[in-house]
Amino acid sequence: MFGHVRVYSGGGGGGGGGDAAVCCTPEWTPSWRIASLQPTIEQSVAIMYGRLPGAGNANNGGAGANQAHDRIKIGFCTDLDKSVLVNNFEKRGWHQVNGDDDWHFYWAGVQTCRNIFSVDSGYRMHDNQMINHFPNHYELSRKDLLVKNIKRYRKDLERDGNPLAEKTESNNSSGTRYVYLDFVPTTFVLPADYNMFVEEYRKFPLSTWIMKPCGKSQGAGIFLINKLSKLKKWSREAKGPFHPQIAKESYVISRYIDNPLLIGGKKFDLRLYVLVASFRPLKAYLFKQGFCRFCTVKYDTSVTELDNMYVHLTNVSVQKHGGEYNTLHGGKWSVQNLALYLEGTRGKEVTDRLFGAISWLIVHSLRAVAPVMASDRHCFECYGYDIIIDNALKPWLVEVNASPSLTSTTVNDRILKYKLIDNILSVVLPPDGVPDVRWNKVPSADALGNFELLIDEELAAQDEAQNSSNNSHAKSSKLNSRWK
């Protein structure tokens, strides 16, 4: 059934097209072009130290560029004192400043970001500033909002008669499901959707559900439920006087993926890094070096193990406290090895289909939130996608983290995260390394590093225009499933 996905994605056959899009010459402003073609010593020095346009030419890049070589160092600011960040910034010759000073690049926590963008702060960013979050990233990263946005996206497509929203009879219930957009487990928000949940629960009385607090991360407050009575008990207690905080908080309850793919008998999930440079038009990149996070304990669905979170949760922060956590590999296994194993034991076709489906899932989750995202040109964001693969090799989106951990658990982890940050910087910054909102955000193939283009709606539209003028097939989007 996934075979059809390709028709819309232009995945397999469209690979070449994707490459072309990356390489095709973007609309450089004349100054960019000159700078890149005729580097003088002065300009080289400017590139080395970073370049800032003079005060008077903010609106006119073309005229200003020639005077823009004041040797101003780029100031960075970070809320996280992580070496993978600071080392990367310093490698580029940037110097650290405070948030109150004139900064050019801010690696901020979500709270700082919220303050900067709030109307009350009165802070207005200038053209040469960049920050690592979108103001309302929670549309994607909050579990309840993500589901809400995806549901709305599917409804909208359905209303427009889009073939993507095709539905089919579900094989195990009276309901229907989406053929191409069924990539999140059935989810309800509690307490709001309690009645809908009960209705769904009654259809599958033997199923297990997982409860997660909407706002928390790293596995905090998560528990499993396989009886309605347990949920009722929980809700009674939550209303009681001892847990006032739970009562305020909303939860999501999702169908638990109880048939996960096991490798070596152990459950795992995928952590993939997705960089969004812009939401409108959507420009997103997938980091090729994701990893699988393994549970330390054998997978076991028996009721006695239902409360053993080491069996069910793959979060490193949870697993770290298990007795069997190994500090040399940290339970992390590369996606490349996963692909090698699956190709060797299951075949190439199913493996390609799985990774194609993963790219598909990411693109459509981003499209689902794109209309509501405040697509500020100062922003980019790196998301940690958590995906579970079931034993039919179908990927399920579990959640999206807007501040994926930059703590390194092992040596390889450190190398990976250092490279991740380095590659993020080279993708989101213009070729001369100075933040500039006027840049068209089309990185060169070299700048991509270990990122691969998932989708660039702008380039896709250009391609489409070109293709239709050439009277050839138009492609709606670009998806790439080359993982190695």
């Binding site: 070596g264 190994n326 194993y341 190709e343 060797g344 075949g347």
Partner: protein
């Protein structure tokens, strides 16, 4: 002349037939043949032709061909060797120029077994193992699929030996020349004086010539068609390309190594498993210890920990291995020591021979037989001292000679630093690079071992890596720094580097 040829063919046929009768597959094939003879398609008036046709139609012909191919490759070669050996042992052993090497081989094997015996004595456990007490047996059986959760105290167990122990023995090998010649003529830190014939680069180029042939006519389903044909030699030829598609590798390797599963193999596996379940053996502890020290900590292989326990435990009980591996034989006086049932004493890192197979097979049984065949054909030569042209001694020698001849600068750099170059690469050689190269590249290297049926690719590849990182090595002056330069092989790509090394002038 023709008569002679005829006679030799008859002699060969007789040997092959005798060998076939000793294999496990003889009986099923014989039964199948009986069934065919009785089938209506065979006409008793034209028995010869109709039976031949029936054999071909049933696909039995390919099976018999493969069987003969593998027999001629492995066992008959061994028979010939032992024939000549019997005649030669009657002569004075002193006259054998490699006698000291064979002697060293026997002594090494004895030393390893002696350590195992000593360990048994120290820990007061019988070498032959003891029945598991019922509670332990139940626990063991219940946890068979998750042996990482099987608890036991391993604090008193140490690996019997590690690569550096074998290296020290190799470096101390003294030829008969030592006693007569003055000692300063032979440098203390090399062993090129050993009189084993090894290939030079020219001969290696000839041997690996197929690797440089660029055939652009690769048909997408070529691999599948070769597998469908079931001809082992064709599968082997395909592996020579060095670009085996991952989905086909498992089947190709099984075909080349003649390790496709038969019913009797599955029964035998279950038998081995039952022996593991019922008896507690000291090698179990050593196997657990080894996996915990290596694979469990390896970010490429840790997910397969539990599969590896099963495979290596059954391996330790498999008496067929002792029968298939040809150990060096030389009359040496002194006590002999018994080993584990398989004859293989686990050493530090033995599980890394099995680990790469986890990327090929989902089922432990398939994994087991292909790994076992690979071990019998190749790996055991890397941990025993022997005179075989692909034994570890020859491989070390090949490494040294290649380094001397083709990287003289590096050679003299090592010499100035008084570092034996072998020290730097020995662990690669002894483990066949497993655990050092990332799995996708390691499997390519092992494709080439199987395709060209030779371990000589290991020293060649070691030279290639040294050569590739030569500039950095030339800049440092200590063993630690050199090892640091060579520690991370994650960026090494096997095929292009080997091709480059073989093609350049």
């Amino acid at each position: 002349m023709e008569e002679l040829q005829d006679a030799s063919i008859h002699h060969m046929t007789a040997k092959v037939i005798a060998a076939i009768k000793n294999t496990k597959c003889y009986e099923p094939i014989y039964e199948e043949l009986q069934r065919l003879v009785a089938s209506p398609s065979v006409d008793k008036n034209d028995m010869r032709n109709t039976l031949e046709d029936a054999i071909k139609a049933a696909g039995l012909e390919t099976e018999i061909r493969n069987m003969i191919y593998n027999l001629v490759r492995s066992r008959l070669e061994k028979l010939d060797v032992s024939d000549t050996r019997q005649t030669s042992t009657s002569k004075a052993t002193q006259s054998d120029p490699l006698g000291y090497l064979k002697r060293a081989g026997v002594l090494w094997d004895r030393r390893v077994r002696k350590s195992l015996n000593a360990m048994c004595g120290e820990l007061k456990v019988p070498l032959h193992g003891q029945p598991r007490i019922s509670a332990d047996r139940e626990d063991f059986v219940a946890k068979w699929n998750e042996l990482s959760n099987y608890n036991m105290d391993l604090s008193n167990y140490r690996p019997v030996y590690a690569p550096k122990d074998l290296l020290e023995v190799l470096l101390s090998l003294k030829g008969p020349a030592r006693t007569t010649e003055s000692t300063d003529q032979i440098p203390q830190w090399e062993f090129s004086h050993i009189a084993l014939p090894v290939k030079n680069l020219f001969e290696l180029r000839t041997h690996y010539a197929d690797l440089l042939r660029s055939d652009h006519y690769t048909v997408p389903d070529q691999c599948q068609r070769i597998l469908d044909s079931r001809h082992a030699p064709m599968c082997q030829q395909y592996l020579k390309k060095g670009c085996t598609p991952a989905p086909y590798r498992g089947a190709l390797w099984a075909s080349v190594l003649d390790s496709k599963l038969h019913d009797y193999d599955i029964e035998y596996w279950q038998k081995l498993r039952n022996v593991v379940w019922t008896t507690d053996h000291i090698v179990d502890k050593l196997v657990f210890k080894d996996i915990q020290l290596t694979a469990s900590n390896d970010d490429q292989y840790f997910v397969f920990e539990d599969v590896l326990y099963q495979v290596l435990l059954c391996f330790s009980r498999d008496t067929d291995i002792a029968n298939c591996v040809d150990y060096e034989q030389f009359p040496v006086k002194g006590k002999t020591y018994e080993g584990p049932p398989s004859g293989v004493v686990p050493f530090h890192g033995i599980c890394m021979f099995a680990a790469p197979f986890c990327y090929l097979y989902d089922s432990p049984v398939c994994l087991y037989y292909t790994f076992r065949a690979f071990y019998i054909r190749y790996c055991h030569r890397l941990t025993t001292i022997n005179t075989h042209p692909q034994g570890i001694v020859s491989l070390c020698l090949l490494f040294e000679k290649l380094l001397q001849t083709y990287e003289p600068q590096l050679w003299s750099h090592f010499r100035e630093l008084q570092i034996q170059p072998l020290r730097v690469v020995f662990k690669w050689l002894m483990r066949g690079f497993s655990g050092h190269l990332p799995p996708d590249q390691l499997l390519v290297l092992w494709d080439l071992i199987l395709g060209f049926d030779s371990l000589e690719i290991l020293p060649l590849f070691a030279i290639i890596i040294l050569s590739f990182r030569k500039e950095s090595i030339m800049q440092v002056a200590s063993l630690d720094s050199i090892e640091a330069i060579l520690a991370d092989l994650s960026s090494i790509k096997v095929l292009p580097l080997v091709q480059l090394a073989l093609s350049r002038d």
